[in-house]
Structures are given as C-alpha cells and as structure tokens.
C-alpha cells in the first residue's frame, strides 16, 4: 500500500486547497495535519480538500478526516471536499461526514459557496 502526498495551494484570498494524492489511511495523519498547519498559517478560513487524485481510502482515512475537522472547527475554519467520486461521496454520506464537510464538484463552486460574503 502506498501513501498520500499533500500539496497546499492558495486558490483565493482567505482560502487554501489541500490536494490529496495517493492512498489515504491513518498513516498519513501527520502529513495531512502538517498540510493543514501550512494552510492555516496563511490565515485561511476556508479549507478545500481536493480528492480528485486520491486512489484509495480506508476507514483510518475517515478517522483522520474527523480529527482534521475538529482542528478546523477550533480555528473557525470551514471545510469543503471536492473531486470525490460517487463511491467516496457515498462513504461521506454514509458516515455523515457530509453534514460537516460540504461536498462540491470543484474548487470554484466550493469557494463561491464558502467565501465570506462582503458586507456581512
């Protein structure tokens, strides 16, 4: 079983995207948390997790996402997931992760939905 690679980019002001490539298991928790730290250090209030290049995920990966969610909520960040196949979308729905991590088709739609509204 391989491991995941995380790449952090900044698609918009106040937002960060973490592209997750490879196999997502509990073994990549440190990598994901490091990527989240990097994203947060720049002041991101919206974190987009891009799963388009994810090859595999086991239940340890779901547990890791719960931990990430807690960390993000502590920082008052909102999390979206994009690029999920129907298979993984169903797993998010089955585990009710979709109630806390908003699912979108792509980064642009996630940012439109989660970006802070002007004048609020």
């Amino acid at each position: 079983m391989g491991s995941a690679h995380m790449a952090v980019t900044r698609p918009a002001p106040g937002a960060a995207e973490i592209a997750i490539v490879g196999d997502v298991t509990a073994a990549c928790e440190d990598d994901l948390m490091t990527a989240h730290e990097e994203a947060s250090d720049a002041g991101a209030t919206v974190i987009v997790l891009d799963f388009a290049q994810m090859e595999y995920m086991n239940s340890g990966g779901i547990g890791m996402l719960v931990t990430l969610l807690v960390r993000a909520q502590r920082r008052q960040q909102r999390i979206a997931a994009v690029g999920l196949t129907d298979h993984y979308r169903q797993i998010f729905e089955l585990t009710r992760l979709d109630e806390a991590i908003v699912l979108h088709d792509d980064t642009a739609s996630a940012l439109r939905a989660l970006a802070p509204k002007e004048g609020r």
Binding site: E55, Y56, M57, N58, S59, G60, I62, G63, V66, T67, L69, V70, R74, T85, H87, Y88, Q90, I91, E93, L94, T95, R96, L97, E99, A100
Partner: protein
Amino acid sequence: MMDGPVGNAPRDAANWARKVDRLQVTDPAEPHGYNIEGKRVAGPMNGFGRLWQRLYLADLGTTVTPEAVVADWRAHFGDYWPRMGRFHSSLSTIQPGDVTALTAGGVTTGIMVLYADDTSFTFLTPEGHMFAAMITFSADKEASEKDAAERTIARISMLLRCSDPLFESMWPLARRGEDVFWPGVLRNLARAHGVTEVTITERTVCVDRRRLWANWRNIRHNSGIRTVVHALSAPIRRARAGRTT
C-alpha cells in the same frame, strides 16, 4: 456490501458498506434489534460529549500473521467478548454493511460494519448507542527490539463521543468498564492464538474538549432508557401477542 470492483471501480469498493439512510438488522430473526431498527448511524461528529481517541493494543508474538488474526477475529468476533457483553450475531463472519445487535452493561444497542479488509474492520454505532463512535479492530506487523522477526500487534482503536448528556455524565464509569472489556477481548484473542501471557497497552487522548450542545437532543434515542422501557413493557407485548393468536 458494495458491489465488487467492476470496470473503473476503486480497489477498496468491496471493503465499504453500501450507503443506507436507516439501519436494519442483518438477521431478521434477531430479537434484540429494537434499538437499531430505523436508526441512522452516528459517527463521532454526531455525538454530544468530549471527543476521545482510545487505543488498546496487544503483542501476539511472531508466529501468527495479521491476516490470520483478523480473519479469525472477523469469524469469531462475539466469541472473544467477556461475559459482561453479548454480540447478538448469528452471521458466519463480519462483512461490510452487517448490522448487528449487542448488549453491554445491560444496555441493548448495536453496530454497523462500515469497512472490512484483510487486516482491519471498522464499526460505526447507531443513534442511541452510548457512544457516537468509529471503532477499528486491526492487526499489523511491527519491528521489535526483542526479536529479529516482526511481531504481530492486535489493535482496537476508537474515536468516540458519548452520545448524549446522560451518557456523558456516566463517562467515568463507562471508561472504567471499557478498560476491563476491551483488554478482556484482546486477552481472549491472544489466548486463541496460543499467547497466554499478554500485556495490554492502553492510550487515551482527548481530541476535543468541547461538548456539542447542538446534539443534546440525542437523548431521545438513548438506548439505556429504551432498554429499560422495552423490558418494562414486555408483559404488555406478551399480552397483546396472546390476544392476537
């Protein structure tokens, strides 16, 4: 269970449970499913209390493989439970999507098998279970200073919150119960694989100290209360059944 890999299906497709909105006990003849039927699963984000990450592990030595341990564990899961709990499954082996009742500490509730592969399987709890939890049972190889060969380590790892304020108030007691129950499971598993002297290691980390007050209404599903009501109403159900036969 999800359909096996077909065409471009991901290689883990057969390991995951099929999506369901409401749970139904896999064995329709099972009489203990009354606190599961029609419930939704409740993962760690759907509970009420503090979020805990707990781990129990046991060193099973060098002779048994992780695959053999997990195959046996899946086939005899309930057989390894201590007497304080009962896993009400008549199924031959644990499979993704199975929904099974259980009784622990006098409370009847259940689990759904979320995921299973050669070296691990994971349960999600239903609404009303004492814990909104994800519990993974696994075995893997670990290098050892004692032996040249890698040793097989059996693990029970869980991410859990107490489901509602009542269960949260009972957490200190429940935690002590868990600290007897799960090491008991690991000792029984070890004994079945020829390991009579086993040391159980336990680690607990509080991942989130916040209580999710938005979920306090989970108490309406509380399986402790519902088990008591079910027991008290048994004579009424028997009388009704007598009238209709």
